[in-house]
Every structure is written in C-alpha cells, then in structure tokens.
C-alpha cells in the first residue's frame, strides 16, 4: 500500500473514537502489542533523547525500500511510533521524504509532534526523513 492509502486507513480507524480516553486506549493497545526493536539493539547510538521519553530508531535498506524499527520507554509514545512505522516502514525513500504526515493532524495527535513536547517523536520523524533523503541521493 502507498503511504497515502495507509494514512487514510488509520484516519478511518480513529474516526470511531470521539472521546480522548478511548483514542488513547487504542494507542496504548498498539503500543503494547508491538515489540518494535530487539532489546540488544537498544544501543546508545540508536537513542533519540527526548526530555520526557526516550526513543530508539534503527533502519535497514532492503532493495528499493527502507525498513524501520523503533521503540520507546513510554507506552503512548510507542503506540504513536507504531502508527508512524506502519506508514513509513517498507516505503521507498522518495515517498518517505515527500510525506507530510497528514494523518497525525487528522487524528488529533499533532501535539505529540510539537517541538515543545520533547518526547523524542519529532526528532525520530526528522531522523527518518534524513535517512530517506540520504537514500534518495544515493
């Protein structure tokens, strides 16, 4: 599926929640379900330090596409990571670089990507974009 299609799918999934707590219940479930990065791979060079929560990011190139693996010590951050990776992982670098992550705003989670939130997510997105750009160039 293309990035835009996955984003639309996520927007539809979230459309059924009109209560914030229900929305977060779902995000937490996403966070709990996914084991995103192996414990031995949570090394300092993959660590993105946020003020509030820590995020680890790993990537590999597989032919034309980029795969991402990430994790966090906070479960809500982890839930949002699982959404971001669902959108980005397995996509072509040029598509990742172009994406404006419309779905985050649509489902009301933009506060988590604000520079003042300091949970590591914004830095993670920047890092993913940077890796994509490097691979486009290469």
């Amino acid at each position: 599926m293309r990035i835009e299609e996955i984003e639309n799918e996520i927007i539809d999934e979230f459309a059924i929640y009109d209560d914030w707590m229900d929305k977060y219940e779902y995000i937490i479930e996403l966070g709990k379900d996914l084991s995103l990065i192996k414990e031995e791979n949570k090394t300092d060079d993959k660590l993105i330090k946020g003020c509030q929560s820590r995020v680890w990011l790993d990537s590999e190139k597989d032919g034309e596409i980029l795969n991402f693996y990430a994790d966090s010590d906070a479960i809500i951050t982890k839930g949002i990571i699982s959404l971001l990776l669902r959108v980005f992982s397995g996509q072509k670098p040029e598509d990742i670089a172009k994406s404006d992550l419309r779905f985050i705003k649509e489902i009301g989670l933009q506060e988590h990507l604000s520079p003042t939130r300091a949970n590591g997510l914004l830095s993670m997105v920047k890092q993913i974009k940077l890796l994509a750009l490097q691979n486009v160039a290469a």
Binding site: M21, Y24, E25, I28, Q52, S53, D73, A74, I75
Partner: protein
C-alpha cells in the same frame, strides 16, 4: 485581614473556571507557575490603558506616575521580605535571572582554590550558573548530597563548609521533592567561616512567611509568577554590603552615573543592577499580587495546603505500585511520585486528557532523578486555591490512567 474561605477565594482566579477537553480543569502545576487573581490581570491592563510611559528620568507627568508606582512596588517587596533597606531589592526577570546576576558577580570575585557549595537537590538554575562561575574563575564547585527521604545529608557538613567556601547557594524548598531545608543552620555555619549565602526562594514564599533579616541570608531570590504575579518578574534581595561587593551584571541605561568615551561610573543600588527599561507593568502588578496574598493570614493558607497534602498523600499511598519521592516530614504541598510499570509521560498524558494538569519529567533537577535512579516523576503541586474535591478528581483520573497502562 481577610478570612480565608476557599469558595470565595477560587472566584478570584478566573482561569480556575475553565474546562480542558470538555472536563473541568484541575490545576495541580502550581510549582511551575501559579494562576493569577483578576486584580493582577486588571492591574496590567490599567497600566497599559492609562499609565504607560517609561520610568526614571522623565519630566512629564506619566513618567513620574509610572516611576512612583514602580518604586512603590519595590517598597511593597521590601516590606513583604522585611528587608532593612529599599535599595536591597533588585527587580529582575525571575529567579534564574537573579541567580545569574549573583553568580556572574562571583565569577569575577572567585579565584582558584576557592570553593562554591551548592546541593544535589538544586534546580538546574541554581547549579549551572555556579558551574559556569567556577569554570570562569578556576574555583571548585562542591555539593551537599541527598538522603533517601529527599533531604540534605548533613553528616559531612562541617567538612563541606570550610575556610575555602566563599558562597553557599541552596534552595529553601526543593521544587521536585517539596523538602524544606534547614537553611537557618546552614546560614549560621556558612557565616562562621566567612562565606556568603544565597537562598533560592522560588518555591517557598507562596507557602510560608519569610523574614530575610531574621534569616540573615546575604541573598534571597524569587520569581513573581509563582507568587500569583506576572511572568517575567522577579526579585534579588541582597544585603547592602553583599550587593555593593558585586560588580554590575548588565551594562546599559539606568545603571550608570556618568558615561564618557574614556569610561563609565556606575549608579547606586538598586539601579546599578537594573540596566535598561524594566518590566514596568509586571513590577507594578507584582505589587498587586503581593498585596492580594498578604491580605490573608498566611498560617491559614498553610494549614489548608497541609491538609490537602496529607489527604492526597493518604489516597495516593493506597494505590498499588505508587512510590512517593520526597518523604521528608518537613515539606510543602508538593507530591512527587513514580508508579511501577507506568512511565511518567504516559501518566501525565492520560491525566491531561481528563483535565488534570500536573508536571512530569525531571523538573530541571536531573541530579535528584539520578540519585533516586529514575528518569522522572509525576508531580502534583498544590496552591491555597486547590480543594479536596480536586484531589478526588485527580486520584480518580490517576486510577483510570493506571488501569489503562497496567
């Protein structure tokens, strides 16, 4: 004197009426900043609507009115702290600004071999300026360690305070733990070796009465915004002789006596440390905040906050996996805690979505977090306008959050 009556007091603070995500706001982030009573908000508006002009040196009417109002604010602060002289009150941008002013001065006065003594529980703003002063001067920065209750470990104090100690900088009340420090004893010990003492009062004056002459501190600093006043206001109290010893901090207008191309002579206290146009509206409204606050019998507010703290502590302790960080018997109404298996960021986010505002993280006290071996805490900090009913909402919201995270 105004009788403390919680329901009428709450009506003085318009923001307490609002809702967040459709839920009634429970504001428990008073340690970060306090809400403002309507009269403080009105005072700022009145200044800009009918009194605005630059102060000092003006010959026209408004400039003199503004100058008088601003200098009256200084007198109010003087009497609030019971300082001996009016010129011992330096108006600053806040606690951080006040500490930097003093630490900058010390970076010029200190030399290699001298010692600066701070503590492990300081806010970063009472650590970093001193580390910088030591870096610039070659002096050594030492610290008084913590104990498991989140108090200062004074077992080695007579070695830490010694003839090399030039200044001791310590917080009156810990922002992340709530601990009230035995500063009277520390001031006495520091003075016995000829050291000066700076007390960080950012977390104390909103909770209890402070008399700087009785304390005998050389410097006492605080922020206006934690005391129900505007942001960008603060105070450096300094004993006259201690302030006179310090070189000026920032150069500019107002702080000079005479400027020639060959050099400048500096103004007298307090203006020597007040370069540039100050936060005039802020200073005047800070006076309004202090006037409002001191209408009450502070011991009544203190008793109310103590009751809130004990009530919240009992309820919190009943929840599984909760560990309170900062368990001194001598503390203000600050409740810092961690929950086993729940990250503070997650807890804070889920409380927020239920209308409860708390602070999470290291609270600018990373050494405290390191000491306890944690990344951060959830901190609920109460003001006199908070209620037991709000504590119930907070505990209910916390239980729901923990169920979701568990």
């Amino acid at each position: 004197m105004r009788k403390f009556e919680i329901n009428t007091v709450r009506k003085d603070f318009p923001l307490l009426e609002r809702t967040i995500y459709g839920k009634r706001l429970v504001y428990f982030d008073n340690g970060a900043t306090a809400q403002k009573p309507q009269i403080v908000i009105d005072r700022i508006q009145q200044y800009y609507s009918s009194e605005n002009a630059n102060i000092h040196r003006g010959v026209h009417h408004l400039s003199q009115v503004g100058t008088d109002l601003y200098e009256e604010a200084r007198k109010t602060i003087q009497s609030f702290l019971n300082a001996k002289h009016e010129e011992e009150i330096i108006m600053t941008k806040g606690t951080t600004d006040s500490i930097n002013l003093v630490a900058f001065g010390y970076s010029k006065l200190l030399k290699a071999g001298d010692e600066v003594l701070i503590t492990e529980m300081e806010h970063h703003s009472n650590i970093v300026p001193w580390q910088m002063a030591c870096e610039y001067s070659g002096a050594t920065c030492r610290y008084i360690p913590l104990n498991g209750k989140g108090e200062l470990d004074l077992s080695n104090i007579d070695e830490l305070i010694n003839s090399k100690t030039k200044i001791l900088a310590v917080t009156h009340v810990s922002n992340s733990l709530g601990t009230i420090n035995p500063i009277e004893m520390l001031i006495e010990k520091a003075h016995a070796v000829g050291a000066k003492v700076l007390i960080d009062g950012a977390q104390s004056l909103q909770h209890f009465k402070v008399d700087v002459q009785q304390l005998d501190a050389d410097f006492y600093v605080f922020s206006g915004h934690k005391l129900f006043g505007p942001t960008g206001t603060g105070v450096l109290y300094g004993k006259k002789e201690a302030l006179e010893q310090l070189p000026p901090y920032q150069g500019g207008g107002d702080m000079i006596k005479e400027v020639k191309m060959s050099g400048t002579t500096y103004n007298e206290l307090p203006h020597k440390f007040e370069a540039g146009t100050p936060n005039i509206a802020g200073g005047i409204a800070l006076k309004t905040a202090i006037d409002y606050f001191t209408e009450f019998d502070l011991s009544e507010l203190e008793a109310h906050e103590k009751e809130l703290l004990e009530y919240a502590e009992t309820k919190l302790k009943a929840l599984p996996g909760v560990r309170i960080i900062g368990t001194s018997e001598n503390k203000v109404s600050v409740l810092s805690f961690v929950v086993e298996g729940a990250h503070h960021f997650d807890v804070g986010t889920l409380l927020d979505k239920q209308g409860v505002a708390v602070r999470t993280g290291h609270h600018c006290t990373q050494p405290v977090m390191d000491y306890f071996g944690i990344n951060g805490t959830v901190r609920a900090s109460f003001a006199f306008y908070n209620t037991k009913e709000e504590v119930d909402i907070f505990i209910g919201a916390l239980e729901r959050a923990l169920n979701m995270l568990g």
